[in-house]
């Protein structure tokens, strides 16, 4: 399976940098998926979930607004704030709390409310 590189960068540092199979991004005009060999693209990102499918694992990252640039098998996300939801159960619930805080700080857009709901669901399922 072909892989592509994904980088998620915030003003305080690089959050994620690895080769992945597929990524789903919360675009301004709606959610979209990116597979390797995607056409060059620049898009605004809304607050929401980035879902990453790596070779063996899956990972979600909660972000507030940002940009994404897709080019030559490389996806670069520049976001203002991001929280990765991974690690052991304890860490996850901690991460979820952080993520919820992040969503609250975003102005009340529909996307943020929807993401907050998703987070609630995830929290109750742990």
């Amino acid at each position: 399976m072909e892989l592509m590189k994904l980088e998620i960068i915030t003003p305080t540092g690089v959050i994620y940098d690895a080769d992945i199979k597929q990524v789903t991004l919360p675009g301004k005009d709606g959610e979209f998926g990116v597979l390797p060999q995607h056409a060059s693209l620049v898009s605004l990102l809304e607050s929401g979930l980035i879902e990453i499918e790596a070779e063996k694992s899956k990972l979600s990252v909660v972000i507030d607004s940002g940009y994404v640039k897709v080019s030559e098998n490389k996806v670069v996300c520049l976001v203002d704030g991001a929280v990765a939801l991974d690690g052991a159960d304890n860490d996850i619930s901690h991460a979820l709390d952080e993520a919820q805080k992040l969503m609250k700080s975003v102005e009340n857009s529909n996307a943020a409310i929807a993401t907050a709901k998703k987070l609630d669901n995830m929290k109750s399922s742990i």
Partner: protein
């Protein structure tokens, strides 16, 4: 020959100064480490942002789109008003750090004055403000307290009014001057054109640009937010960079001061000993000649 007591007093005064400068050096070293870390983290973001913007900007330049986006990227032929933002430290005792920046700003003013352009100076940091006020140069805006503790929000507040001015045409160019950090012992004056965006200096990546998709499709909204972000972030980064440079410069200056004080103490000690010996010699001569006269 100086009085023994005077020399003693001088020695203790110099060694007190030495203690102060040494402490200041240590403080600067610690602060520099923290700021350097901050600069390193934000550098990745800044670089990627610049890269992304340059690709879009080139795309727009090549397709000759009219409107706001081209206003951001293409230089006006007739520049009437130029805004010069410069960053200096709030505090002194940091060697040539502030004066270098001021010198460059003065050069810039000269060049633009020669062209007949109206200049608006926007000062960040107490030292620069003091200097230009003392020399009777008018400052359009003054910011104190931003350069010693930069945050993204402060940078944003400061720069957003300038971007507005640019958009509604009351200024044609934004230049940012600051003294940047290279490494522990070197600082370098940096002069950036914030607006219009200087695409010529950016990485040349003409490959596969024609088929760049942009979403949402009216490029203006994407470009506008991206450029605003870019300018805000450049300002923020410049502030951090300047702070790191300030600390490294102060560290050097204080190091030099400590060394000078050390030398001075050594010299004074020699002088003190000479004076002491001379006093003893004089006393001996007096005793001996006293004894001689009694014979």
């Amino acid at each position: 020959m100086a009085n023994l007591k005077d020399i003693k007093r001088k020695i203790s005064s110099v060694s007190n100064t030495q203690k102060t400068t040494r402490a200041m050096k240590l403080v600067s070293t610690a602060k520099l480490k923290r700021t350097e870390e901050l600069a390193k983290q934000s550098k990745v973001y800044a670089n990627k942002l610049t890269e992304m913007l340059s690709e879009i900007a080139q795309n727009i330049q090549s397709s000759n789109i009219e409107g706001l986006s081209s206003k951001f990227c293409n230089e006006q032929e007739d520049i009437k008003v130029v805004d010069i933002i410069f960053i200096t430290a709030d505090k002194g005792l940091c060697g040539g750090f502030n004066s270098q920046t001021i010198k460059r700003v003065k050069q810039l003013i000269e060049t633009y004055k020669a062209k007949g352009t109206k200049i608006r100076l926007r000062a960040v940091g107490r030292k620069g403000i003091d200097y230009f006020k003392f020399n009777g140069v008018e400052l359009t805006s003054e910011e104190i307290g931003v350069s010693s503790a930069p945050t993204y929000d402060k940078a944003k507040d400061f720069i957003s009014s300038l971007v507005e001015d640019y958009v509604n045409g009351s200024t044609d160019k934004l230049i940012l001057v600051h003294n940047g950090y290279v490494n522990m012992i070197t600082q370098e004056i940096r002069e950036d054109n914030l607006l219009p965006i200087d695409t010529s200096s950016m990485v040349d990546s003409t490959k596969s640009l024609s088929d760049l998709e942009i979403e949402p499709e009216d490029d203006d909204s994407l470009l506008e937010t991206l450029i605003t972000k870019y300018v805000e972030y450049s300002m923020y980064y410049a502030l951090i960079d300047s702070l790191a440079a300030e600390h490294s410069s102060r560290m050097q200056a204080m190091d030099a001061a400590t060394n000078n004080a050390k030398e001075m103490v050594a010299d004074l000690n020699v002088e003190y000993n000479k004076a002491r010996q001379q006093a003893i010699t004089t006393e001996l001569i007096e005793i001996i000649s006293g004894v001689e006269s009694m014979k």
